[in-house]
Structure formats: structure tokens, C-alpha cells
Amino acid sequence: MKRIGVFICHCGSNIAGTLDIDRIIETTKTFPGVVQAEDYKYLCSDPGQNLVQKMIEAHKLDAVVISACTPSLHEPTFRKAAEMVGMNPYQVEIANIREQCSWVHDDTPTATDKAIKMIRSIVEKVRLNESLEPITAPLTKKALVIGGGISGIQAALDIANSGYEVIVVEREPSIGGHMAQLSETFPTLDCSQCILTPKMVELNLHPKVTIHTYSEIESLGGYIGNFKVGIRKRAKSVDHVRCTSCGLCYEKCPVKRPSEFERGLAKRKAIYVPFPQAIPNKPVIDRENCLKFTKDACGNCEKVCPTTAVDFTQQDEIIEEEVGAIVVASGYDLYATAELREYGGGKVPDVVDGLQFERLLSASGPTQGEILRPSDGKVAKEVVFVQCAGSRDTERGKPYCSKICCMYTAKHAMLYKHKVHDGQAYIFYIDVRAGGKGYEEFYQRGVDEDGTVYLRGKVSRIFQDGDKVMVWGSDTLTGKKVEIAADMVVLAPATVPSVGTEDLARELKIQVDIDGFLSEVHPKLRPVESITTGFYLAGAGQAPKDIPEAVAQAGGAASKVVALFSGDLVHRDPMIVGVVEDTCSGCGVCVGVCPYSARELDTEKKKVKVVEVLCEGCGACGAACPTGSAQQKNLTDAQIISMVGASLGESSESPDSK
């Protein structure tokens, strides 16, 4: 019989505060096969791991059960520790008596009973565990970066500068993302264009980088080290090789549409470059609004193009690429002001959102940096800023804090005052969250030097009142209700994952959280990795974050990719589902249900075989197989049955497998 050691972690008082450790030890010792049971205050610490290693050696243990926190946190820690003293790491299993027991119960006797059953069930499992070796596969040392905003640019540059090839896919006609729309950046007030455009150029000229703009992910297959990605290059209707960026085409285009880049505050043509510093600096045709496509008329652009670059017949093209790692930098959008009905529902012209105000502040924006209100072009003298517009609202908006608004609103008010000296800025806030290097000082400077008036109270209602915009708020510090007849109102809407993030995540088979942001493996210790291996996260698609944080995370994601590429093989979890050839009838049901194309039918032998590197161990085949021949490694039917038995308190009768 296997010699099993059980270790109970107190986790400070997280576990020991609720569970009766002594009773667990006493009972555990009586389980068949358990030759040693020990407890320790912090098992994951250096002395804790040493204890496990010593016991493995002293008692010649064959397998170990660690009763502690979730395996997603420390399973790798203890497997590595065991491996160092010669134990096969797959002989180590975790009983999660913290998240699944001590944290969710408060009655010590019953919770202790439950913990004992949980440990018993894992002891039963580990008794039948096989020693496994990781599956290795070759590695394509080329990365894909999805999203060409500041995070994607930074991640791509860091990977490329380490010597690896990178493909960048950007949905819009230009790279640059939201940062390209910003005027100046907090807390240093450097001009956003001045610090971003050199990076855009660097990316564009980098010999290791290929950029696909106006493109989207069409399909994805494979696994870490060996992804196959289909990229849809949408028809630009302009041959970018021939185009010389002369600009005659959009000069002569008669169609005017609201510019996405200017957030509707200016018009663009149907054939357009989104902004003057765009990369590539060559136009695309918006087919939904181009007269050639809607009415088979016009054709001006084609007529005036000196290099015959305009090509109405261009088709979408799908290209296939092989990559080893994927950085998802899909970015954010602002919560639609139409949803904020009490704030005019997007219908009051002089109520704008934060990004629109960035365009008004920008020297290259629709007003050349003058603060002119959209309705009549007058200089706005009374400007009200409203924070938490849709954030921190569990009822009608988003429950979370959008994090960047406190600082960009402080910046807005400051820049406004720099431009309109006799104007006044008011900021309605709930709390000012200015944690960050130089942030508190920046916020105070706005109050001390620029006279920004902060009013502590959430605005209730905004409506058009003659040629003013009436704002009803309060100042809870004085206990006064406040109304301001403003010339212009700037909302700081909640930041949300960019449109299409959920569809992208579904295509990539990566996870999103309840608010639609990309999920990381561990919020503290593994913040740049997706739960699905081979995917790395960067930027505001993972959670609201500002530029410094986005850039730092992008660097982190890039270093994970580079670390992966520093080896020559990828190691895959061997917890795959195999085939019991004796019982497999060759019916092929499992081949159909496998989402990873990991199972194939050998028509001659009439047996299914598994392409091990493709198997993700999801278990779909196991559930579908009519003969029980698809057995997951170390989670076989026999193991599950004896675990269930142990959970129900049955005494162990299962025969020793070894």
C-alpha cells in the first residue's frame, strides 16, 4: 500500500481559527495508508515546505496530501517542493480546506467534520494517482498582440526588442488607441501625442513587427506554443502599397460622417485617415457610407487618385499565422451616456464625456484646443465635471470604481483653467481617489493654484434650461443642495471593456469576469496571465487602469512571453484524457465532442487515439463515452467513486492499485 503523508496548514488563523486542527490530525492518522500527519502555521513558507520535504524523506512517503488553500494558488508550489526530494509531482494533491471550508463556515465541530471528509476524499484520490511526466511540444517563437493601443504597442515593442517576431492586430484603421485621443496626460501634463507617436513610429518601423490594421481575429486553434490564428484583414478599398498618402481622395469625397476619433465633435469623409498622425497614414473607405457602395455613384476618389490606389473591388482577406503566445490588449470604452437618462441620456448637446473633452482640449482637435461648447460654439465659462457617472452604481450602472476618472477630471479642470482664465471649473465627486506617484500633489495643485471647486455630492439630475445646462447636485460637507447653471457639463462615465471584448474572449476561449473584463489567473500573484495558458493580458481590457499601469502591465506580459520563448519546448499538463483500448469500441462519439480536435479515430484498429499535446483535459469525451473508455489521468472513474465514498463517510474498501 502507498505510504501517504498528510499536512495541515493553519494559514495563520484563516484555517486554524475555524477548524479543530488537533482533531483533524488525530482522525487523519487513522486513515488507511496514512503514515504521517503534520500541521504547520504557514505551510507555503520556506520552513513549511522544508517540513514536507523532510517528512517525505524520513517516512519514505509515496504520496502527499496538502490540506490548505485552493490548488490554483499553491499546487505548483508544493509539487515543485516534492519534486526536489525525488517525488513525482503528480503524487501531490491539495485538499482545499480554506476556500471550501474554513472561510465559508463558522461552526467549528461541523466544519471540522467536513474538513476531515474532504481530506479523506483526497487521500482516496492520491492513493490511485499515477506518476506522470509532462507532455512536451515544440514552440513557435513568434507572438501575436491583439490591440494596438498603448498597451499593445508597449508589449509588442518589448517582445520585438528581445529578438522575437510579433504580429499586431488592430481593429481600427490606425494604431494608437484611446491614448492618441488624449490632450495631455496626468500628473506631468506631457502631451499625449508627443510621447505616443514616437512609439507608434518605432513599432511601425521595427523589423520584427508586422502590423495589421483594420483587421480582426477570425479564428483561433492550437495551444500554448503552437497557436494557429486566422486574421481577417478587412477590405480597405485602397491599395496601401500604391497609395502615397497625398490626401486628394478625402479632399474630394463628398460624404461627411461623424468622426469616431473626434467622438462625433467633427466630421470625417467616407474615405478617411482617422487622424493626421495615424499609422498607417493611408486611408480606408467606410463602405457603409461610401456612395460607391450604397448607391453606385460618385467614385471621386478613384478618379482623382494619381496612383490608382483606390480599389472598390478589394475583398476581405483571411490570413493564417502560427504563433506561440498571445497578448490580449483589447482596451476599454466609455459607458454610453445614452444610458445615463437622469443626465440627459446623451441628448443634451453641451453634456459631453471625458474623451470628448480631451478632443476639445487637444490642440489638434475640432476646436484647435479652444473650449467651445458643441451647441453654439461659445466659450464655456462655467464648466461642471461630474464624476462616477455610471461607476460605483450597483443599481443602474457598474458596481466598480473606474479608477482613472478622479485623476483625468482633476487634469481636465486644470487644463480648462489654463485655457479659459476667467472661467470656473466645478467637480462633483464622491471620494477623490488619488493614489499614485505624484497624483495627490497634482490634485491639490488643481485646488490650490487653479481654483477648481470640489463639491462633495453626486449629481442627481442634468437638463437643458434655456441656453444653459442645469445641474442639480449637493455639497454634503456644508449640507447644502447646489444648483449650477452651466455652459457645459463633462461626464466621467464608467470605463467598460471595449466593444466586442466578450466575443473576442469567446473566440480565444479565455475567461472574462462578471463585468466583462479579461480574467487573470490570480489577482495578486499572477496578474498578467490569463487562466488559459499561452494568453497574457495587458491594459484596460483587464481592469480600468491609467497609462503608467497599462504600460507596466504590458511590460509584464511581454516578459512572460519572452520567458516562454527562452526555452525550446512547451510543457503541457499531462492530466489529459486517454483511451482504454481494451474497452474502446471505436464508436467515435468522443471525436465529435472534443472541442480541441485532440481525438482521432483509427479506422483500421477501430480504436480512438489521442493527440496528447492538443488535449486540454476538459473531460467532454469522458462524459460522452458510452463504455467508460475515456479516462482522465489521475481522475479516473475508480478514483471519483472512492472519493465520493469517502465524502459520504464510507470506510475505504478499495483495493490498493499498486
Binding site: 462616477c388 462633495r456 442627481s460 442639480w472 449637493s474 443642495k481 447646489v482
Partner: protein
């Protein structure tokens, strides 16, 4: 009202008062994070000595006497503007009703008496006004 020092302890902060208000109102006043939006939109603040969010704060701190003393709870017209926009889903009108109920239920403190109303007023008031007024201001 002069700002006086109040003494806080477990007795008031964790006391029965918060519990009682929560029970009668079906709300959890601790959900309120004091953004002040209720006060921003309240159409009756001009007649209130404390803003609605301040009354909620008094309840959160368990300061029963101060909460029941303020005229705010009697000025509230249950128009639900606050509830419609509260980002934390607190129905303040129900909290105000609970505070009125705590004052009125002993039966000794009716706020109005029909006989106080001049006959001509009684004659002209819509029935709806009279019935709801009596229901809000008396046991």
C-alpha cells in the same frame, strides 16, 4: 442647530435602532455610502433642517434621538426621486417612513389632528390629500 459632540460606542453604532429601522423599512441603511445623490435631487430640501443623506448617516451611527428629532422625516413627501437614482439601491422613502413609524407607533405623538384643520380647508382638500396626510402624520 449647534454642532454638539456625540458619544459613539457599540451601544449606538451596533445597537437596536439600526436593526429596527432596517426591519420596518426592509432596507439596509449600511448600503448607503453617503454620495449625497438623494439630497441632490430631493425637491423638498428647502424645508429640511438636515439633508436626507445626513439623516441616513445618523441612523448608520445609531443616533436615534437626533434622527427622530429632525424635521426631515416629516418633510419627506415619499416622492421616491431619491430611490429612483440611489446608486446603492436604498429606498430612502421607506427609511423615512420607518423613522416616522418609530415616532408615531406609541400613539401619543400624532403630528396633526383633523380638528386643527379649518372647516373650509377640510371642505376643499381632495379626499386623497386628507387620507394620505392622516396616514402619514398619525398612528
Amino acid at each position: 442647530m449647534c454642532p454638539t459632540r456625540v458619544s459613539l460606542s457599540r451601544e449606538n453604532v451596533k445597537g437596536d435602532f439600526v436593526q429596527l429601522v432596517n426591519e420596518i423599512s426592509g432596507q439596509n441603511v449600511l448600503n448607503c455610502y453617503q454620495c449625497g445623490r438623494c439630497s441632490s435631487g430631493c425637491p423638498l430640501t428647502f424645508a429640511m433642517r438636515l439633508l436626507p443623506n445626513q439623516v441616513i448617516r445618523l441612523v448608520q451611527l445609531g443616533l436615534q434621538e437626533e434622527a427622530l428629532e429632525t424635521n426631515t422625516i416629516w418633510v419627506c413627501a415619499s416622492c421616491l426621486t431619491c430611490h429612483a437614482r440611489c446608486p446603492r439601491g436604498v429606498d430612502l422613502a421607506k427609511v423615512m417612513e420607518a423613522l416616522r413609524a418609530i415616532g408615531l407607533r406609541p400613539g401619543t405623538h400624532d403630528r396633526i389632528k383633523p380638528e386643527d384643520l379649518p372647516p373650509e380647508t377640510l371642505a376643499k382638500l381632495p379626499q386623497q390629500a386628507l387620507v394620505s396626510g392622516l396616514r402619514k402624520f398619525t398612528k
